[in-house]
Symmetry: C2
Subunit: 478 residues, 2 copies
């Protein structure tokens, strides 16, 4: 019998398919790829007997994993990396002048830095949540990665938060509707474009930032078009206070009444969600994005990801932003999610390594509604995968028996720089740590220049004189 022709055949790898309920480990594993799709996964001898390819790649020094999924990030903020750390008043006394100075024409430079930083650490799918700007989706398209893009919809009046003085934020429905319309236009243009690599979600920013009327309109639009909802939920006591003042209830019961809690909701953060509210979300089929690094650094809080998952919900991992979390790196998120939840529970067996790896791959894929396309290495799925160099010292030695040590080391020891190659939809975007579809140096230099423009503006803004970190500068602590 003749062999089936495929385009690429990876052989002799340490494959983790993330299929089934565990990690799907295959020693001496192989993967056959045709076009953008995985055709077969199995033992090397099996696949070599059945497939032939012009490109047969020996991956014996590598672990092969599905590409990692960043379930929540605001990419332009990469330009503000590290300017607002370790302060109790992050938004008002640390970020505010930087956020104002980071105007839309500079955002692309931040998005590009963020996305290639993630790519070099194995991220192949990015859930980017921002106000759309020209070139945003085009960059993802040209780079060749996968993205689920969420145009932000905010229905607050300008300066509503700073003028509220402890009272209710003022709504501006006209502004909110303009943002809804922009989001719908964006979805019309980009949903399932770029050979299906780009998908779109609706992004009401938070339950306290839009009137119930607009929240209902957004949900109606989303349901009619089959779009999912990506939303900050129960993020901080500030939000909960607004909800209680305005509606006499908390965010999650409010959203339940409004019909938001279903399998199309990706709820981000949930820092304030009670155990009962977590169970409510899971019962309705909603998913969660946990940003362990960001929330740990900004709030000293460990969100209820372990409970959400143990109740049967899907939890994906998010980096949130380089301005809060400093690195755009899902290896960092896997490790922090595991360690922080062990500390929260005071138990070492909470979020074992394999669960963190599933959150970064297949469970994250389900959480964002792409579980049928990505997240595991199985026939019929898209060929989004990463090769991780097991010859890096921090992944040595490699042990297969009596217990395999690769998964714990990938979660607790790898830092992302061990990612040697990245493939998305059957196409190599990085090989031997060289990005093939963008100019890394040019992107870094442009980001540096854009950041310098931001800083010039901040220095010209008198508000910068009340930055709390100026004291740290004077004290020689920065």
């Amino acid at each position: 019998m003749s062999k089936q022709a495929v385009d690429v055949l990876f052989v002799h790898g340490n494959v983790f398919t993330m299929g089934g309920s565990g990690v799907g480990a295959i020693e001496d594993g192989a993967i056959a790829i045709r076009g953008s799709e995985i055709v077969a996964v199995g033992r090397t001898d099996e696949l070599l007997a059945n497939y032939e390819a012009p490109e047969v790649i020996d991956t014996s020094p590598f672990a092969i994993l599905p590409g990692l999924i960043d379930c929540h990030v605001h990419t332009p903020e990469a330009l503000l990396r590290g300017v607002a750390q370790d302060v109790p008043d992050y938004m008002e006394r640390a970020m505010a002048p930087f956020s104002r100075a980071l105007t839309p024409e500079l955002w692309l430079a931040g998005t590009r830095l963020n996305v290639i930083e993630g790519l070099k650490a194995g991220t192949t799918t990015t859930m980017d949540f921002i106000t759309p700007y020209p070139g945003w989706a085009e960059f993802y398209d040209s780079l060749g990665v996968r993205a689920q893009l969420t145009p932000k919809i905010n229905g607050l009046a300008p300066d509503a938060m700073s003028t509220a003085k402890g009272g209710l934020y003022a709504f501006d429905n006209a502004k909110g509707r303009r943002m809804i319309n922009a989001a719908l236009a964006f979805a019309d243009r980009w949903q399932d474009e770029a050979d299906g690599r780009i998908t779109v979600m609706m992004g009401p920013q938070a339950p306290d930032m839009l009137s119930p009327e607009l929240l209902r309109e957004i949900k109606d639009h989303a349901d009619r078009r089959g779009l999912r909802i990506h939303m900050h939920v129960a993020q901080g006591d500030r939000e909960i206070r607004q909800m209680e003042m305005r509606y006499g209830t908390r965010s999650i019961p409010f959203l339940e009444d409004l019909g938001y809690l279903d399998e199309h909701l990706l709820a981000v953060h949930l820092t304030e969600a009670t155990d009962e509210e977590v169970r409510t979300l899971v019962r309705h089929g909603a998913s969660m994005a946990v940003c362990s690094g960001c929330i740990g650094l900004l709030d000293g809080i460990v969100p209820p990801a372990a409970l959400f998952r143990s109740e049967g919900g899907y939890v994906g991992l998010g980096t949130d932003s380089a301005s809060s979390n400093n690195c755009i790196n899902l290896f960092n998120e896997m490790k922090l999610t595991a360690v922080l939840n062990k500390v929260k529970a005071k138990r070492p067996d909470i979020i074992p390594a394999w669960q963190a790896l599933r959150m970064a791959t297949i469970e994250g894929a389900h959480a964002i509604g792409l579980g049928d396309r990505i997240g595991s290495l199985e026939p019929g799925k898209q060929a989004d995968l990463i090769l991780i160099d097991l010859q890096e010292l921090n992944l040595s030695p490699v042990v297969h028996a009596p217990v395999r040590n690769l998964v714990p080391n990938l979660v607790y020891s790898a830092s992302g720089h061990e990612v040697d190659s990245v493939m998305v939809a059957g196409r190599f975007l990085m090989r031997g740590r060289e990005i093939l579809t963008a100019n890394e140096r040019g992107i870094r230099v442009d980001a540096q220049a854009a950041s310098e423009e931001v800083m010039r503006r901040v220095l010209a803004d008198p508000a910068h004189r009340s930055l709390s970190l100026l004291d740290a500068m004077k004290a020689d602590d920065l």
Copy 2:
């Protein structure tokens, strides 16, 4: 006036001297080095006006920091990386058969892997706590790094822990005395050898593992020779139970009575120390080594490092072991120490980045009694320093005003692979990520072979059948 001749002049770097009470930031900074010592540190224009050198190195793309100090590690266990993760019964049902199989003739392979892994992540000084074996100190000497070596002294009868069945461990003073004598002979041979790069501490393993008689003898020897004490203290409820059963008191009051609490004590872990006990330690001048990664993963505990430091004590960071913590990387420890303490305190301003950086450098140096030689970049100190590539995407952009973003990014975003070059005592040990004084590939291959020998022995040991992780293997979770 003619310029002073030095051997190496680093110019145009982002220097963090860690002198003073902060980070000692010098923009466009320079460092002059003669022999093993730092001669001058200052602005580039100042140093170029006063010094000349055959080697003038442009370090404009780099941050320059003191070499990092690993204040507690058991190096041979690098061969057991990742074989015992996520289990509640780490010692008995996960590590025991591996520990037995890791016999002394294999230890050097583990030590070498551990130390060059650390070196590539910027560690220049290692506090290694193990039973001495032939070749141990010689390896540190030949590699050119700095080490403070602690021969382990344990006075328990063989199998005392496994046969105690909840009762008291049996002591074996004769065995303990043999280990004391071996430690003293080691100190006689190596204290201040290798041009002062190797120093020795006395290492009574823990307060419950030696009779009071031997503990007193060790302290007498140490005081007479001017050696410091490196000891696990208040590590786990197991130890506290032994102390209460045997002496009717807890570890720290017991050690206070015994005269152990002074400025020569480095107390490791302190997971069970009460706030009052922490204050007692600090009042006596003792220092602390905190192993945030290890203790977080194994116990889900955040040791009282923030309190120890805020009370005025010195706290250094330790990696502990690759078998518990998976990576030998002080960037990992800096980040985890900061994040975990924020979560413990529920406050983002606890352990800001600069404090974590000080723990990894100057405060760690003081904690191990080498604060006069290393830990900061100041004239008269040893030239132990690292160059960190700020062109790595996760450290971009670089911002100097209105607030500098380098220190937060070095702590929260760097992962160690950004370390480009390492110098110890004025000698480059790594440049452009190539280790110059050892064969990295050979060390990795030898460690792999040694680990395979360990695993063959474990598979031949029937005890491996009760490893709790065998269930995880069957469940496809590893």
